[in-house]
Amino acid sequence: MAGSTTTKLASKRDHRLEGFNLDKKSFWRKLPIVKQLRVAVGWQKGMLITGLVLCAFFLLVALFAPVIAPYGHAQIKDASGSFPAQEAPSAKHIWGTTAGGFDVFSRVVWGTRTAIIAIIVAVLLSIFAGVLLGLISGYFGGWLDRVLVMIADAVYSFPSLLLAILMAIMISHGQSGLVSGILASGISITVVYIPQYFRTIRAEVIRIKESAYVESARVVGASTWRILTKHLFKNSTRTLPVILTLNSSEAILTLAGLGFLGFGIEPTAAAEWGYDLNRSVSDVTAGIWWTAVFPGLAIVLIVLGITLVGESLNDLADPRLRARKSAGEVVGSIENTSVDEPTDMSARNEVVAELDAAKNPIASGTPVTVTDRDADFVAPEWTGEGQGTGAADDRGEE
């Protein structure tokens, strides 16, 4: 394959590899999450699905906030007069009202929208900046690379919330309206996460740039920009989904932290959970729980949802951490021939011991052969079976 030269072949290679898989994959099945969903088993699948459901729920709430929320985010009175302050949950205000007379339920619903917009802004901006810097830094190297790495390391080691506070001071001087507020929070969070994308992409680029296909592209005369965007970028984004999800959850926590310290978005501009929690500190001391519990739970659930997805993706990408497969799915899968990219995860079989299969709801309980060098668990009962414990690589003998 190293002999093939043109850049076209690089993309063709991917195409050919897909043909090796037993089942022809549709576009739908190739989508990142869907692929993992098919690979996951047992409670790992449960975790992933729970996460996806939570994320979808919050996305829907954000989308349909005007329909769901009975009042506006800064509404303190309606036709029948002002809302009472700190009223316990009732029919009219199902989650009660705050000290300022806001309807808690409406604030929480509108807050979903703020949170999601802030994540999107933050993640998009930081991916863009981080990936670009990572590509350039990794590909060109030299003093620019060294300086960028040093800055990224210094910024990375610094507590993200404090950095976000600094950025918020710089961007909005601590006070902000709707668009500027969300932008300020988004950009503050962005700066914090650029180093993470930068480091990952840079490491990948350094690994890939020596490969034969990049070199051949260079020989053929592809422009630097084309190599960067086509050859390096596309092949270095392997780990991005994991970082992306984990960062979005951190972004929400940072946004809420900023709000809690009074550095987020003004309450009249948009609803923001962190700000609401800040207001509820004194309520809690007086035993008023509803102003704190609902926005807080919203943060916990959305972060939980995103983290569950991210964690599952992370585990599924790491064969050592993946929950062990059941026997039925292993049999008959075809070996992935790609050296550097084990895309088809079901092909990477894990050792399944009978005792494990017994506890796995999906497993059929039939005896299993050892199909991988990665013999990750061998119980004392196991050795009595006289099976090889993975000393040899049995792949391909099945």
Partner: protein
């Protein structure tokens, strides 16, 4: 050195050992030195970033006192403080001050920032230490359990708990703990570092350390100690659980991956019990990544401390930081943030040295 005085036989025996030790410590010393020198650019970059970011939109005097003074008065104040000079001159000035330990003066209460750091730093340190202890106990205990019960119900439960710890903002956890234990059950105090009577007792101390637990021990009064500890439980728990989530994940992942490695396999085939495998063979190497990440965790904990202290009115650096933020006193904010930057750099240095002590491969 002492070998010259020792009998000849002992001298013979000691020689190879000493030579080996010297070789090790030479490389180790070089590593420590290079790593120490790396602190300087890190701190320098952070100070530079913080300085220019803080000053990008104006001087601290206008920010803090903007609405309260007439434009003329404001101008006079700005001029007196030297904030109308070119930014680069101020920057060099600030760096010079920093070398002498001068971090500027707060705008709102006109105190040297360094004295605030000294006064409130101990409270934050005490809270962070207690939280770290809780995080390590919970994190290591549950992490090992999860690794041992991999893929079982206990593992799933512990992992969910870890994710929940991580997903819950520390201030929300703090509020919930407060609501349950301080308001509804009324068994623990809701906020502060101690009750009023304890503060009175402390004022009698000749040399208060600022660490209330140590101060309470100095007084030798059991009731005071109990009071201080009762106040510390909820904040330390909130901050500790935040970090515990990360430790659980780390311990679990690392124990599982060392548990899979060849030498553990070899030990198992020699008939070493599973318990001993987990406790000894797989455990030590699993510790190294955990210690490496601890530096990051301490940095995160400092940020968490800002939120925790604000929630519990724990009068430490974080609480003061949020107070100064509210007052738009950016000179004070700058000082506190730079101090935290220095602490983070030093902690990372210490962590790296410890990691190098444990694992020689880290040294370069």
């Amino acid at each position: 050195m002492s070998a010259t005085a020792a009998p000849a036989a002992a001298d013979q025996a000691d020689k190879p050992k000493e030579a080996k030790k010297n070789r090790l410590s030479g490389g180790f010393f070089r590593f420590v030195l290079t790593r120490f020198l790396l602190i300087i650019p890190t701190v320098f970059i952070l100070v530079t970033v913080v300085f220019f970011v803080m000053r990008a939109t104006g001087d601290p005097i206008s920010a803090a006192l903007g609405g309260r003074l007439t434009p003329q008065e404001l101008k006079a104040r700005v001029h007196a403080a030297g904030y109308d000079r070119p930014l680069i001159v101020q920057y060099i000035d600030y760096l010079g001050g920093l070398l002498h330990g001068d971090l500027g003066t707060t705008m709102t209460d006109n105190q040297p920032v360094i004295s605030i750091l000294v006064r409130y730093g101990s409270a934050t340190f005490e809270l962070a230490l207690l939280a770290l202890i809780i995080a390590l106990i919970v994190g290591i205990g549950l992490g090992r359990l999860a690794a041992r019960k991999r893929d079982h119900a206990a593992d799933a439960g512990i992992r969910t708990f870890a994710i929940l710890c991580y997903a819950t903002p520390v201030f929300f956890l703090g509020l919930i703990l407060k609501l349950i234990f301080a308001i509804w059950l009324n068994v623990l105090p809701a906020s502060g570092r101690s009750s009023l009577s304890t503060e009175m007792q402390f004022s009698r101390l000749v040399s208060p350390t600022g660490f209330y637990i140590i101060d309470a021990l100095q007084l030798g009064d059991v009731n005071v100690l109990i009071d201080v500890l009762r106040h510390a439980v909820l904040p330390a728990l909130a901050l500790g659980l935040l970090t515990a989530g990360v430790f659980i994940r780390l311990v679990r992942t690392n124990v599982i991956s060392t548990f899979n490695s060849g030498y553990v396999e070899a030990a198992r085939s020699r008939g070493v019990s599973e318990k001993r495998l987990l406790g000894k063979h797989a455990w030590r190497p699993a510790l190294i990544p955990i210690i490496t990440v601890m530096g990051m965790q301490i940095a995160m904990m400092l940020a968490g401390a800002v939120l925790t202290e604000t929630t519990f009115e724990w009068k430490g650096l974080g609480f003061m930081l949020s107070q100064y933020l509210k007052a738009r006193d950016f000179a004070a904010v700058q000082g506190i943030v730079i101090l935290i930057a220095i602490i983070v750099a030093v902690v990372n240095f210490i962590v790296d040295v410890i990691a190098a002590l444990i694992d020689p491969r880290v040294r370069y």
